[in-house]
């Protein structure tokens, strides 16, 4: 009650007085142990790891060598800019670097790249009570009034140090008016005035501010660097943590040192020796760590994705119940599942691209960028997806990420997650590609067998024929003397390469046509695009093509260009989409429609929702 009362009174004060209060806030935020209250033994002033282990020298900052080197050189060569902007994600060292820079500039033995951390100036800055270094919370003091206060104060000489330094943290929250008021001062501060701005969201800072600052982008810290730092801390804190556990923490931290330290803190609160120091603490290994952090075991993710792929909703529900019983966080599980399905999709895409299988192994650096996973898990991923089509995996991913939104919003995340998993496990159409292709061919055969299709040949094209018939014809010829389809493709490829050497333009057109029939005898190609058709039908180009064909195949060749405009080029990628359609001969209606209208299946879209 007491507090509420005093609050109310404060807000009733006349405006002028409140303004003064705002002015008073520009006093530096205390960072250190200002309030020393040793007279209360109970639960006092413990400094958490992230604060205790805040670097005090440029050299101690991990993973930002590109920045500390520039700053060091700038100080050594006395080329110090008057305004810096530090950006980067949370917990990578922006504020730390700003404080070190302030100490380096104002150190009594400086300006030096290695502040002594012993002189009055350094100590004052560390404790947050230096009268020439102002660390301002830009998110709380964000209005034009506070900025005016800075402009007003910076005109006066520093009290006892070399420079008057303003560190404005969380600067992205400063209002538009505030930024604009700062512009002139930021461009030409007095010779002793320095600004260091720090933010996680540089895109919210006006360009006019950006162009006046030297900008440094802090990087995410690699998990190896984080792990090394953590092991130093752990050694010093008498904490026994295995290498594996440290690596796991640093992976969880996603490149942020503070996140990693917070996680380590969490581990400490479970297993640290007590203050009395008699207990030596428990050894923390990966298993215990998973338990402490409430992280879902990777195995659960694989079990779930396997159950989904196998179409076993019951198993999904059982697994969720198990996770629930362990008291783990379901929203987190759901987010990790999104990542799992994303990984599955990418693994599948790599398989398709690599084709041969050894292709992707060699590019381990690329792999590292795509997955943050150990090799063993990559194998597991590959094992799970080898039978699935990209389309199916896309569907899984889409449903899962939609579901994740629902889980995050829902007041009963369990239900939302269960429903999503059931939806996934009962998604239609997880047919292996090979089977789909087979079915498609079956349909094709039936279609062409029907005959009597009303084809309307596009005008001005010779040798016009329907796709189906062509295919059949080719197949018949092929059985006797021509090469098999794979060989055919290889020959066509060589032919293209041959032309590519001399006539690039022609070759690039040919790259997109379908070879219907290859020599000896005739070269028949099907063209699906009108502009390409026009180009290839041009007598001059036709002759050129014929010449090349004669030279390449070393025999007399007739070139026939057929139009495929308006028809489907059944390439392999599309067959995947067709699979659902070409269901064991039940699609009479489709066949009938195709027959009556003389059309072909160009694209099959799945209904978005059911």
């Amino acid at each position: 009650m007491l507090i509420a009362g005093s609050c109310a009174r404060r807000s009733r004060k006349p405006r002028q007085v409140r303004k003064e209060a705002a002015v008073a806030v520009v006093i530096p935020v205390p960072q250190g142990s200002l309030a020393v209250s040793d007279d209360h033994p109970k639960y006092m002033s413990y400094k958490v790891l992230a604060r205790k282990w805040r670097p005090r020298q440029f050299g101690e900052i991990v993973g930002q060598g590109h920045i500390t080197r520039i700053l060091t050189n700038a100080i050594q060569s006395n080329r110090i800019a008057h305004s810096y902007l530090f950006t980067g994600i949370r917990g990578v060292g922006k504020t730390t670097a700003a404080r070190i820079l302030a100490r380096a500039l104002n150190c009594e033995k400086g300006p030096t790249p290695d502040p002594c951390n012993q002189c009055t100036s350094c100590l004052e800055i560390s404790n947050g009570n230096s009268i020439d270094v102002f660390e301002i919370d830009g998110a709380t003091n964000r209005g034009i009034d506070e900025v005016r206060q800075i402009i007003e104060n910076i005109r006066y000489q520093p009290a006892k140090s070399r420079y008057k330094i303003y560190i404005i943290d969380e600067v992205h929250q400063v209002t538009k008016e505030g930024f604009n008021a700062l512009l002139k001062t930021l461009e030409e501060p007095p010779p002793f005035g320095k600004f260091i701005l720090a933010t996680t969201e540089p895109h919210r800072i006006p360009d006019t501010i950006l162009s006046r600052c030297q900008r440094f982008d802090f990087r995410r810290i690699s998990s190896r660097d984080i792990a090394r730092r953590l092991s130093e801390i752990a050694r010093d804190e008498n904490l026994r943590v295995t290498e594996g556990a440290l690596l796991l923490i640093s992976r969880e931290a996603e490149g942020s040192m503070r996140d990693a330290q917070s996680l380590l803190e969490q581990v400490l609160s479970y297993s640290a020796p007590t203050a009395t120091g008699q207990e030596s603490g428990v050894q923390v290994d990966e298993q215990l760590l998973l338990d402490i952090l409430g992280v879902v075991e990777r195995k659960v993710l694989y079990d779930l994705s396997e159950a989904v792929i196998k179409g076993d909703p019951k198993r999904c529900i059982e697994i969720v119940a198990g996770v629930m019983a362990q008291g783990l966080d379901l929203t987190r599980l759901s987010r990790e599942l999104v990542e799992q399905f994303r990984n599955l999709l990418v693994a599948r895409l790599l398989q398709e691209k690599g084709g041969g299988g050894e292709g992707h192994k060699s590019e381990s650096s690329v792999l590292g960028l795509l997955f943050d996973l150990p090799d063993q898990e990559f194998e597991d991923l590959n094992g799970q997806v080898s039978e699935l089509s990209v389309d199916t995996l896309m569907d899984y991913f889409r449903v899962m990420s939609d579901g994740d939104l629902e889980v995050a919003r829902s007041s009963y995340p369990r239900f939302a997650l269960e429903t999503t998993l059931i939806r996934l496990a009962t998604l239609p159409g997880a047919i292996p590609v090979a089977e789909a292709l087979e079915r498609l061919e079956g349909l094709e055969r039936r279609l062409s067998g029907e005959g009597g299709r009303a084809e309307v040949p596009p005008s001005g094209v010779t040798g016009e024929r329907g796709r189906g018939e062509n295919r059949v014809e080719t197949r018949e010829v092929n059985t006797s003397e021509s090469p098999r389809p794979e060989e055919k493709a290889a020959v066509w490829k060589k032919f293209l390469a041959f032309i590519m050497e001399e006539k690039k333009f022609l070759a690039s057109h040919l790259e997109q046509v379908v070879p219907l029939k290859l020599p000896p005898g005739k070269l028949e190609i099907g063209v699906g695009e009108r502009h390409q058709l026009n180009y290839l039908m041009d007598p001059e180009n036709l002759t050129t093509l014929k010449d090349y064909a004669c030279r390449f195949f070393a025999s007399e060749v007739t070139v026939i260009v057929s139009s495929l405009i308006g028809k489907s080029l059944v390439s392999e990628s599309k067959t995947v989409g067709l699979k659902q359609f070409v269901d064991d001969g039940k699609n009479n209606m489709v066949e009938e429609t195709l027959r009556i209208f003389g059309g072909s299946i160009k694209e099959v879209k799945k209904r978005a929702e059911y």
């Binding site: 709380t140 964000r142 969380e170 803190e265 969490q266 919003r409 009962t426």
Partner: protein
């Protein structure tokens, strides 16, 4: 309330206890977990442990300090929530808080601020808290309470020590209800299953309302027959009269369909919530195609969102109910042809 009297959350309490013992209390905690499982209770208990002058590593729960913390008028323990009539916690409240934290505590112990719920802080408020969260003045302890991380800035998350709270098990809840409220075992179990491990909800709800009304509403829903548009209109009108009621009923119906789905997927041994309506669920599950159940569930999800955003209730509900009876010739319990 002393730690020993808290239902469930043994692991979390142990962590806090260890930190207290080892004098390793973090300065900023984030308590994460579903609503109504007792996060705020734990936070207040922690405050009591720190301030209570009698207990040793636990509060006594009887002294003046403990009582004043429980009743929310201890000068060093503040609970920050949206101001009356507002939906968000604003930057003004944060500035106030920061000014308060600058002062030394009245009792000479920690100054504790509990922000509940933290996800209602708007973006400027969260930003303005950042510096305080990182380097709070000497003896401050901040406890943020939230049911999700999605609406908190990553910069806030990274500065807090997270403690995950999960649902209390149905058995524990039922046991507590039996012991504390003197509810018959059978009923206690049903209540616990219905509130799904949210003790706060189980304690605060009017049990008769929950048990009887739910049953009545669900029965009304499941007895809607095909093309009964007149009935639909009447039902929609009745539900739409009150926002809370409509949300509540939709929630019940969701639970009902979820039970049907679980039953369809796992058979009779599945873990259902509406334990008193087992037979009906079995009947509906065997006549319902599960795809229909799935689509109904996704409709309900949408309806819930729209109701919360204050769209025209009657329109939404009519639309939903018409879909329900039209796609489904013999009422929600039958197979569409």
């Amino acid at each position: 309330m002393p730690f020993t009297e808290i239902v469930g959350h043994q692991k979390q309490l142990e962590v806090l206890g260890r930190s207290l013992e080892g004098n390793r209390l973090h300065h900023a905690y984030l308590f994460l977990g579903p609503d109504g499982v007792g996060k705020r209770t734990v936070a207040l208990s922690l405050a009591a442990v720190i301030h209570c002058s009698f207990g040793n590593h636990d509060s006594c729960g009887r002294c003046e300090t403990c009582l004043s913390i429980r009743d929310g008028n201890h000068p060093d323990v503040r609970v920050i929530k949206p101001e009356p009539g507002k939906r968000e916690i604003t930057i003004r409240q944060m500035r106030d808080l920061q000014r308060q934290l600058e002062f030394r505590s009245f009792s000479g112990k920690k100054k504790i601020a509990i922000i509940d719920p933290a996800h209602l802080m708007n973006i400027p408020a969260q930003n303005s808290l950042l510096k305080t969260l990182e380097d709070p003045p000497g003896d401050a302890l901040l406890i943020l309470i939230s049911n999700n991380t999605a609406s908190l800035l990553s910069t806030v998350l990274s500065r807090c020590l997270r403690l995950y709270f999960s649902f209390i098990s149905v058995e524990e809840t039922a046991g507590f209800l039996e012991g504390r409220k003197g509810i018959a075992p059978e009923k206690a179990k049903l209540l616990a299953a219905l509130t799904g491990g949210s003790l706060g909800e189980a304690l605060n709800c009017d049990e008769n309302k929950l048990l009887d009304q739910r049953k009545r509403w669900i029965e009304r829903f499941s007895s809607l027959s095909q093309g009964n548009h007149r009935g639909v209109m009447a039902l929609a009108e009745e539900m739409a009269a009150d926002r809370e009621l409509s949300l509540q009923v939709v929630q019940w119906v969701e639970g009902w369909y979820r039970d049907i789905l679980i039953h369809q997927m796992t058979g009779p041994e599945g873990e259902i919530r509406n334990t008193d309506m087992g037979e009906k669920i079995h009947e509906a599950a065997s006549t319902h195609p599960f795809k229909h159940t799935l689509s109904v569930l996704s409709w309900i999800g949408r309806v819930k969102g729209e109701l919360q955003r204050n769209y025209n209730r009657r329109l939404i509900l009519e639309n939903f109910l018409i879909k329900l009876v039209d796609r489904n010739p013999c009422g929600p319990g039958a197979v569409p042809t």
